[in-house]
Subunit: 136 residues, 2 copies
DNA sequence: TCCTTCCATCGACATCTGTCGATGACCGAC
DNA sequence: GTCGGTCATCGACAGATGTCGATGGAAGGA
């Protein structure tokens, strides 16, 4: 359990989130996927980001962080609901940060993670079928 | 090369596509992901579908099939542009079909594959951030 | 100063995954 | 019936991946 964990005595300021442009890893911007054949390079980049979320533990981490108070959470908040060891949780968080899907903000002893909505939306835009777009 | 491949002498009828409801494997319906914590079971189901597209070869296969004439393609159309062996292409196609992202229609000697737009849209809906929804 | 707590990294291990060549099943043409 | 072409499956292999315990570094409190 998180015996000595902070449990609520944190400011929980809403972070600015979503870096304006060219932030973090890249997220493999906006090709509709079902529009024209992907190049090998584009496919590799997209696959790297998708592999980051194609894991039960990491999917749950994303939803746990997003649903947490203030939209951010520290590692100690995530270990127990996930049921995995602390090194494993830390490993998964690192993968998500390197994929640009989470941001890490170290404040004092704690490291706070927050989702990057723009990254998830970019992935959604790539997968969505253009038929859902009425402007054509 | 596809020496004896049909190369265009096929009807190329537009298939009905997208099975009405409850088709194929399931696609792990519509939870916004950044809404509330995913259950372990839901996360596992979602991850299984995401793993299916989290691969460069399979991403290219999806886009190749979608961009092909008539929205469908046979294996022999995909081997050369992908640069992989026929068994490998067949393997990837099987993974995509089992994930409900492609349909397989065997006509004579050829097996025609077509994308399931509803499956991709469902995935996009799960990843998209609710902030993109103005109705709240 | 020392101790406690939080977190990241390391090394090891079992398992999953992507790829291939070889083979077999199936269909259509001659 | 036989042959050629398309596709799926099998077995094998190297490499990537998820998990853990042990360890180390850094910040803050007694």
């Amino acid at each position: 359990m998180n015996a000595g964990c902070h449990t609520g005595d944190v400011p929980t300021r809403t972070l600015p989130l979503v870096p304006p442009a060219g932030g973090s890893a890249g997220v493999a911007c906006c090709a509709p996927l079902t529009r024209e054949p992907l190049s090998a390079e584009t496919a590799a980049t997209l696959a790297r980001t998708l592999k980051a979320i194609a894991d039960p533990a990491r999917l749950r981490l994303l939803s746990l962080v997003a649903a947490h108070e203030g939209g951010e959470a520290c590692v100690c908040d995530l270990i127990e609901p996930l049921g995995l060891s602390q090194p494993t949780v830390s490993h998964h968080l690192k993968v998500l940060v390197e994929a640009g899907l989470l941001t890490r903000d170290k404040r004092g002893v704690w490291a706070y993670f927050a989702v990057v909505p723009a990254a998830l939306d970019a992935l959604a835009a790539v997968l969505a079928t253009p038929a859902a777009d009425p402007a054509r």
